[in-house]
Amino acid sequence: MMNRDEIHILVVDDEQVIREGSRRILTKEGWKVTIAENGEEGLKFVKNNEFHILLLDLMMPGIGGMEVLKRVRETHPDLLVIVITGYATIENAVEAMKNGAYDFIPKPFTPDQVRIVVRRAIDKINLQREAELLRIESQRSLRDVANEKSRTLTIINYMADGVLVTDDNGNIVLNNPAIIRMLGREEESPLGKHIFDWTGNAELSQMVEKVLNIEGSSSISQELAWENPPKAFFMAHAAPVRNEQGEVLGSVTIFNDVTWFKELDQMKSDFVDMVSHELRSPLGSIRQQISLFLEGMVGEISKEQHQKLNRIQDRIDGLIGMINNLLDLSRIEGGHLVQKKETLAIREIIEGVIELMTPEAKKKNLKFIVSMEPDIFSLHADQQSMETVFTNLLSNAIKYNRNDGSIFINARNLGEFVEIKVADTGVGIAKADLHRIFDKFFRIRTEDTRKVIGSGLGLPLVKTIIEAHLGTIAVESKAKEGTTFIVQLPREIDIPSPDSRILHLLK
């Protein structure tokens, strides 16, 4: 809103009474008023000052009002002109309006009439001002949006990680230069192509299909091996893009080149592998020779010697077990163990492992209490790895249990996951140790666990396997009551393979 004293009005009239009268009326209202007594003077003032409103008499000697109006309209289109017409000559008023006058006021006029007409003009000026401000404002915000967009694009384009954004059908709508470089696909633009058609990677395509199609899905991270030259390994993180209503509009996938880490990791795994084999063979040899004594094949031994040798053999078994776990870990970390994923019935896996562990459990008079949902989802997993997971969990539940205790195994469907709980009635784990139990070589040292032989590699192995299957493992424990491990593994999902999609297109 303009302040009153900002309004500057020019009154051009050859009649002094009207000039002075208008000045008096308008000045009283707080507006700034300048007067001119003929057309020439008026034009000169308009040229040298800034006016908002011009009160212009049409009938003047010299340059007439109509001529002044025309010239002013050309030079100062924003100036609002109110013409003063003698004796209500409506024709003049109409012509003036045609020439761009804003309003007219017939002579003679009352002070109120002048005030009303001028106020209306001022309202018009204010409205124009506001409209102009709004226009500037919206232009500025449009510019901000454009700037923001270009900033975001700049960031995406300069990221070292590859970025692919798809619509809800999996067609690529945005990419950055890094992904093209990473995949060595300079010759073919990804835009508009389906993610499978452009990358040729079924696993990636399935990841994206998952985040697009599974309700409530969040991000998925998976390591992808790229066979096509250049041979490479990528850590891909895919996430759905949603609107405010939570509907999935598309997906965004970030690619992290981990080839170098994989090579380093492979070297490490090869080393661990080699060392483990070199360690395991002599240990096996030692164990076997001790067994000759225990079986009485190299002469009779006393009961006490038998006991000692038994204990030695147990310790060697512990060492061999640790080496085996190390080997498994290095194989899984090298990506060798979890590659043979197939449809698995979790019930059969668990029942098989229980059968295997029953002799161990009997030694401590432990009971297995099993409850599994009848229609439990099947998994898409590596059988050997899953057996390793539950063998380790059950083995712990036996080792760290009290005599005559129980082991509870509970399996149920939970959303898109299968949840398996393994609980014991053992000594429990102190709160301070809980977060460390998945660390390699961490073992809890208490009076209760001192005699238990363990490698400190079982749980890290379990966690690595579960995470390689996109699952999670958590632990809860109460001192003197027991420990519960909660495993969640994604159910097997029937995602149309890229091949069937292509077949569908061909039909």
């Binding site: 076997q288 020779q289 094949m297 085996n324 498994d328 050997q384 057996e387």
Partner: protein, 127 residues
């Protein structure tokens, strides 16, 4: 009583397996590598063979394959000495490796004397 060839690059292991077998009154022939094992198998034509998998000069799978491909020796029963990660994975392992090598049976290292005796007797058809 049978003549059994024991092949392993670890002399201690060869010896302890020999002790176990000799305890059961079997005659034991020994070899300390894949090449030597293959050669002795052909020369001595043992009643059965206990063959280590991991050997530096020629591994047990290859020795097994060669013997099983030769009509003159394919009837020698072979017990493979394997070093598998854990008990439960033996089934998977057998499945993957056994079909390829056509070995007659498998036993994990380190060997339990009773288990070894049981498997050898079965191999010889004496159970």
């Amino acid at each position: 009583m049978a003549r059994i060839l024991v092949v392993d690059d670890d002399p201690d292991l060869v010896e302890s397996v020999s002790v176990i077998l000799e305890n059961k009154k079997h005659e034991v022939i020994t070899a300390y590598g894949g090449v030597e094992g293959l050669e002795k198998a052909k020369r001595e034509k043992p009643d059965a063979m206990i063959l280590d998998v991991m050997m530096p000069d020629k591994n047990g799978y290859d020795v097994c394959k060669e013997l099983k491909a030769d009509p003159g020796y394919q009837n020698i029963p072979i017990l493979l000495l394997t070093a598998v990660a854990s008990k439960i994975s033996t089934t998977t392992y057998t499945h993957q490796m056994g079909m390829e090598t056509e070995a007659d049976d498998y036993i994990d290292k380190p060997v339990e004397p009773k288990e070894l005796v049981r498997l050898v007797e079965r191999l010889l058809g004496n159970n």
